[in-house]
Symmetry: C2
Subunit: 160 residues, 2 copies
């Protein structure tokens, strides 16, 4: 039977030590970044479950809502309003275009820009998913009471 000392010596010969070595005072599960990642993961799962359109992602939904709000908007401007960089919003819009939910047309006053608007199908979808979207927000916050929800959203907004 190998002793602990011998075992450790052998492992050090291999150059790696599989002994547990937790860092005092640093718990991954308590870090705000890890918790934000997991909370965002949970919300995404709730969204896909509840939005009622298996192709529509949270970012595509955000783009759709923002175009609906504004009527028309350039791609980069839409990206700024939905917190997506130009490369990301490009892909999101491309997929909405393929589905026929968004239309593009040139901006007469600035030939660099392409303006976006909702197609009739896009308008129809945008309207029909607002109900599910409200339910998704409610379900995401369902572990919290009413006062806790308001507090949480207040604090979360301060972290943006």
């Amino acid at each position: 039977m190998k002793t602990g000392v011998v075992s450790i010596a052998m492992r050090e010969q291999d150059g790696a030590d599989p002994a547990p070595d937790p860092t005092p005072g640093y718990v991954l599960e308590h870090q705000v970044g890890h918790l934000l990642r997991r909370a965002h993961q949970r919300h995404t799962s709730i969204f896909q479950e509840g939005i009622g359109d298996s192709q529509l992602t949270p970012t595509q939904f955000a783009a759709l809502m923002k175009i609906k709000d504004l009527g028309q908007v350039s791609q980069n401007q839409l990206g700024r309003l939905t917190a997506m960089d130009p490369a990301t919003i490009q892909g999101v819009i491309q997929r909405l275009l393929v589905r026929g939910l968004v239309e593009r047309y040139p901006d007469a006053s600035d030939r660099r820009c392409t303006l976006l608007r909702l197609s009739p199908a896009g308008k129809q979808l945008a309207t029909s998913v607002i109900g599910p979207a409200r339910a998704i927000s409610e379900q995401t916050l369902s572990p919290l009471g009413e006062a806790e929800r308001a507090t949480f959203l207040d604090l979360l907004r301060k972290l943006i």
Copy 2:
């Protein structure tokens, strides 16, 4: 000069209406999912800025910390502990293997499993980034006061 009425009529002929159409009572910027996404984005940016190793991502860091805590662990088990599905943890570990931060060896008691441990370089890196990681958590929460931070983390934990 075109009137508004004529302009709208022409647009309806195109099948799309670029008129603004905000939904009463639904503000994208107030939705918990959008706020979680943006807060997570901000944290990731702070992480990349502060971790001190331009190649190390938040998920790679989480995997590194968890292997350090446990000494050795199978890949799928590590994924469960860090909230990554098997496909995601596979890629994360692959990149840590390429960098020589993690080592693999077979589990004698279960030939399906491959056990993971930190290499000496992995141990060194894991130890050296704990200080920056603490600073990253602090900076992420810096918009909040002490009491607010505790409240926020409590509520965030309830949402996992």
